[in-house]
């Protein structure tokens, strides 16, 4: 497992910058991405003349659920195994796995909606196909936001002295 350490693959200066400054800006950027995702969808719903059925809102909602799920995890459970409690390690990994599945499901749903309802629909003009593309943008941005928040939020329960 030690071959996967970040120092082997990423420029040390980048890692140093990330440790010092990146973690301060990460949550703000992830909030911005989350906003961008949902505002793309709002734009598509506003522009469209016809009412968009509720099942096309679902990919975005599932992606938001994935975002919440992935950020419920306490990160230090994943970093090192507490020798007295195997269960917390497994629990965290299982929850992470399930949240990855949910996020992939949202991507699949968005692509499905775009292809089935918009790309292969012959009686729509190109401008009317925006909700399909907007759904893809929405899901991508929301999941990106969730991932960024996951890696850049400060870990809980570390006792507060880990950055010295």
């Amino acid at each position: 497992m030690c071959n996967l350490r970040a120092e082997y693959y990423i420029n040390p200066q980048v890692i140093q910058w990330w440790e010092e400054r990146g973690k301060m800006w990460g949550p703000i950027l992830s909030g911005a991405l989350f906003g961008a995702g949902w505002w793309f969808w709002v734009d598509a719903v506003c522009i469209n003349q016809h009412k968009i059925p509720f099942d096309q809102y679902l990919p975005g909602l599932i992606a938001t659920l994935a975002l919440i799920m992935i950020n419920c995890i306490r990160r230090d459970d994943l970093v090192e195994i507490d020798p007295f409690d195997d269960a917390s390690f497994c629990r965290s990994r299982l929850w992470l796995f399930v949240s990855y599945i949910v996020s992939f499901a949202s991507i699949v749903a968005a692509v499905w909606v775009m292809l089935a309802h918009y790309a292969h629909n012959a009686d729509l003009s190109p401008a009317d196909k925006w909700p399909g593309a907007a759904g893809i943008f929405q899901v991508t941005f929301i999941l990106g936001s969730g991932l960024l928040f996951f890696v850049s939020r400060t870990p809980t329960d570390t006792g507060g002295y880990s950055s010295f």
């Binding site: 703000i28 950027l29 906003g35 505002w39 928040f149 400060t154």
Partner: protein, 132 residues
């Protein structure tokens, strides 16, 4: 040059008033009051900072004290969300042809000026507490 320095405060006040002026002009000059919806976002942007604190608010936020920093992260998330909202609402309005492109450009300029003001404020605030 510290946050108490009157020049910094003057620049910040100038930035805020210019931003708000651009925002108002974007509505007045085009005789279309829809962009005032962005005002909701401008009110929302400082609120997470006020309620949850940030780098300058409590000196321990940088050092990762566990309970406080969770709320600080959530506050930053909400700040980012409302900052994007202030750019997105004029863009959606322009896309829906409710406002003209000129109004959109003026609203984006207002968002840019206010964002730069916030960044300046944050920079000077963190410069102060970083000199331990």
């Amino acid at each position: 040059m510290a946050i108490q320095d009157f020049r910094v405060i003057m620049v910040l006040a100038l930035g805020v008033s210019t931003g708000l002026l651009l925002q108002l002009l974007g509505c007045v000059l085009f005789d279309n009051w829809w962009p005032m919806l962005v005002g909701i976002m401008y009110v929302l942007v400082p609120m997470p900072y006020l309620f949850f604190g940030s780098t300058g608010g409590d000196g321990y936020a940088i050092y990762g004290s566990s309970i406080q920093s969770g709320w600080v992260d959530a506050g930053k998330f909400l700040t980012g969300f409302s900052a994007v909202g202030s750019i997105a609402i004029p863009a959606i309005l322009a896309h829906a042809k409710v406002i003209t492109i000129g109004a959109l450009i003026m609203e984006l300029a207002a968002a840019l000026v206010l964002g730069a003001t916030v960044l300046t404020y944050d920079y000077f605030n963190s410069k102060d507490s970083g000199f331990f």
